[in-house]
Point group: C3
């Protein structure tokens, strides 16, 4: 594994190897970290600010003992002169580091960077309809860690699913496992796009589209909640509150199910839910650290 | 001591313990630093840029051997989505560090963060009428270090005192010591607010309000100068130059008195004053490093 | 050597000492770096963002084992209050670090900072007509490293030469060597300014002004290409494409010549040129790392 560009590149054995390594990283992080990678430099090259994702990667690097070059203003690179190419920027920055974590505003940015980069590229999100593979992997790890399996699970995705980069990537990864059942719960205006469904059909994955959380909330193992930008559904007479998780909804969920969310959230998960042990979203954010440590060491150790 | 939220939480013994530790930190910093805290990560979470304060904290962490996650764009967190709460942000960031240094734009922000944070919060200023306890402590340390005592001192605060976060916090801290005499020197439009005076009355602290630096300049031990935003007194017929420190004013001050300023300054201290040994404001900025190292180690060592 | 403010301060022996040290630094960087300077703190104080230059300096510091305080928003210092002076900022920041890398928006900013700074200042560019000495040194090192000599070379500068900070500084440095021949190739509206030519006359350096790359492209050892901002020549009926390097132009160049560019580029060097071994601009960016490591250690070791 040289670059991490899209979730498709992870096979099941590779995923399980990653999760084993993640367990080890958790132990290392909880005792403060290691000095083993002190001579490694990571560059955070963010064309759009995303402080949470950036901090998660940079903390991973620090717990490994490494160093970090950081910018959330990389757009300055491209705006500065007309016609400057991402490819040139990557070739320059590659001289100053051992790995580049790239958040690019255009779909396919990470792939373009990886095609020419002398150092490994990690895609930290490219475009709103693009990929965010490390998020998908930490989501999958969270399910694995909470449910103790990845086979036979039923997972409901709720919210704005059409442009949900994380939902798309995670659905893709889940399709690799046995007897998975997926529910896509959203107003029809923002339902999951056909390309994902075609993929699920190909893989023979069982799925269902719903406009209502009610009939399946009591039987799913995982509710993966996402934000619905209110303004996207203006004048559409959709009652968004029916997609929210609150104590009432919680009561109808299985005792051993979990609620996930890529965060930040708005109103779609009520704060009263946070205290329930099924609220897994802050643990999910924590797992981001360990999974990213594991990915970085897989790159450095190869 | 878990969080550092407001200066009120520091008792006299705690302050003296801090200052003893500060002396030790000064020695460590002057020989380049230590590697003792290499596994600690500090997050600088600034909702408004304040490069001086941020650099002072981050240098303190570096002299201790630690690592730093840093943003001056944390406002992006809250603007990104309507309704995201500081509390959620803190819970996420806490997974990636051992201490959070928070500069928030709203009064009470630090207290809200401390109420839910799994890791210690250090308030690096919240709101314009809020607290900035580490500034108050480094101010107090500077007085202690320059005057060799904190009892029996007379201190004049000069400038815009109504919204002076540092003045308010320092007045509060000084009220804990014996036979202190405070002067508040300002045009009446921007004089110190009654809540501080009520507190001083309660503690039996001797104080006086003045609109003129003239009658006390020759007898005070400390002049704590602050900026007056010119536009705040437009059309008020106040001659602001009478609040400025220049060589004439300096001549009338005691030979062993000192001039302090939280910096940055505008015209209120003439640059000709800088060369005088009584100009303590750059030494005050230096002390920020040692006091913050001491505070960080008090948190890490507990 | 205390401060690095302008290329003029480097004598030929000092330059050769620097390049010898640069070779050593290259070896150190390629094996990952050293821990020798772990107690050194560098502050990147950028009044205007320049992520490439900043990363190059910061990576240099990391490969030496040091720590980095960083801001690209230092303008906040000066805009925050009317009348704050660069000098005050430098005096404050100097308490928190061992060296300051300064990118200032005003010509002469670095000199002003160096005049009062308690710690060494490295000028990372001041004003558009000012100096950028570390760029000039890495350019010169690249020529030295590629051509194996600095004497007897013929160098063509092409593009917008009037405000070309790097061109001006490099021409100055080259004038120190024997039998150098310089060509300045530009539309007359943006030709090199007379002050540089006067300096070359004084030093007896052979030079020629041209508006066309054609007649010398086949005989120069180095083509130093720069960007021409299209809007600067609007309505001037200049065919800018005649200043571009493409495969046709490349074919007419000597087999052992090189093409340099301070980057970022726009259309003035065609991407088809990149694969040719004479395209030295990415190696030039790489050399920035080693030259800056060498400069930092020259400061720290003195």
């Amino acid at each position: 594994m040289r670059h991490i560009v899209e979730s498709q590149q992870f096979t099941v054995p590779k995923i399980l190897e990653l999760f084993e390594r993640t367990e080890l990283m958790k132990k290392i992080a909880l005792r403060g970290g290691t000095r083993d990678y002190e001579h490694k430099i990571m560059a955070s090259l963010f064309y759009k600010p995303s402080t949470r994702t950036r901090f998660s990667f940079e903390a991973a690097m620090f717990r490994l003992g490494g160093k970090v070059l950081s910018t959330e203003q990389a757009m300055e690179f491209s705006s500065e002169i007309e016609g400057e190419r991402l490819e040139d920027t990557i070739r320059i920055i590659a001289n100053y580091c051992d790995v580049i974590v790239l958040r690019h505003h255009e779909e396919g940015g990470a792939k373009r960077a990886a095609a020419i980069s002398p150092v490994p590229i990690i895609n930290a999100g490219d475009g709103s309809g693009g990929q965010h593979p490390t998020q998908a992997l930490l989501d999958l790890y969270t399910i694995y860690n909470e449910c103790k399996t990845l086979d036979g699970l039923s997972v409901a995705f709720v919210g704005a699913l059409d442009y949900g980069r994380t939902v798309r990537s995670l659905a893709y990864l889940l399709s690799k496992f046995e007897r998975v059942k997926l529910y896509f719960v959203a107003p029809k205006e923002i339902q999951i796009k056909p390309d994902i469904l075609e993929h699920l059909d190909e893989k023979g994955v069982n799925y269902q589209l719903l406009d209502n959380i009610g009939e399946i909330i009591g039987k799913v193992d995982v509710v993966y909640q996402t934000r619905i930008e209110r303004e996207r559904l203006e004048n559409k007479h959709v009652d968004l509150s029916q997609y929210n998780i609150n104590l009432d909804v919680l009561q109808r969920m299985k005792y051993n199910s979990i609620i996930m969310h890529p965060l930040p959230r708005s109103v779609e998960i009520d704060h009263s839910v946070d205290a329930d042990p099924r609220a897994a979203y802050f643990r999910q954010a924590e797992n981001g650290l360990y999974v990213r440590m594991a990915l970085l060491t897989m790159i450095f150790d190869k």
